[in-house]
Symmetry: C2
Subunit: 163 residues, 2 copies
Amino acid sequence: MSDEAARGPRAPAFDPRALPESNATAYPPPLRDANMMRWNRRISRHAGLRNFAVNLTRIAPGGQSSYRHAHSRHDEFVYVLRGEAVLETDAGEQVLSAGMCAGFTAGSGDAHRFLNRSAEDVELLVVGDVFPGDEVSYPDVDMQGRLQEDGSFRILHKDGTPY
Amino acid sequence: MSDEAARGPRAPAFDPRALPESNATAYPPPLRDANMMRWNRRISRHAGLRNFAVNLTRIAPGGQSSYRHAHSRHDEFVYVLRGEAVLETDAGEQVLSAGMCAGFTAGSGDAHRFLNRSAEDVELLVVGDVFPGDEVSYPDVDMQGRLQEDGSFRILHKDGTPY
């Protein structure tokens, strides 16, 4: 390998794990705590991509990726990079090891989340759409979400009242 | 692990390497040979996703992912899952090991391809757009491409004449 290559990746390539990670969530305070062990790195944003989103998601032991949810218009794709992830859908749970993947089609109504019940980190590569108007339903908790025209994600109670 | 989980992934999850792979290409015969060592598994299509494309691309030793190209309207994202991939862009070459990634923004004009100069397979997870109207430019060979409204990818000579 040349000296130049040995210096590590340079744009448009990069090491995704060199980016800062965040456990920020749009969930309101009463429901926020369950998501604090999920850490996101916004890879596609770093790369300047605007047509879809790619995130590197790390779920610490005991954490969840999100509450179980379904998208009305957005497709979602998840590839397990590391660890043993528990995928929960309407049909129940299954364990996905590294190298497995799953696709969640827009409008299917089948809600999903990933859990980490192991003692090691789980890493997921998560691909999704970014266009506005997507409605997100949460069958297990009193939330509904909508991606607004300005890119913000607004969460309301199921009866439409704000948090 | 329960007996059910031990049976392996079930929909909407799956093992992407259990899907058939293909080295089919839209390139015309004189330029096709260089792509015969690149094998694609169409993961997102298998999952029924329609808003973006995710492919698992295997490049055998000596192969290339494509000719060096740039998209006019499509974003592209590549994550190296396995092996040592050589990324070639306008700025030259660099080696990307497993865990590195790269983003190629629509309209940048910077053309890229991945090469495998190692003795082991390279595996890439490749994410891209699917909407029609994308123009693909190839600075190194006599081709230009366009994704048609019907989803087919049409390749012409640079002077606009058909192959």
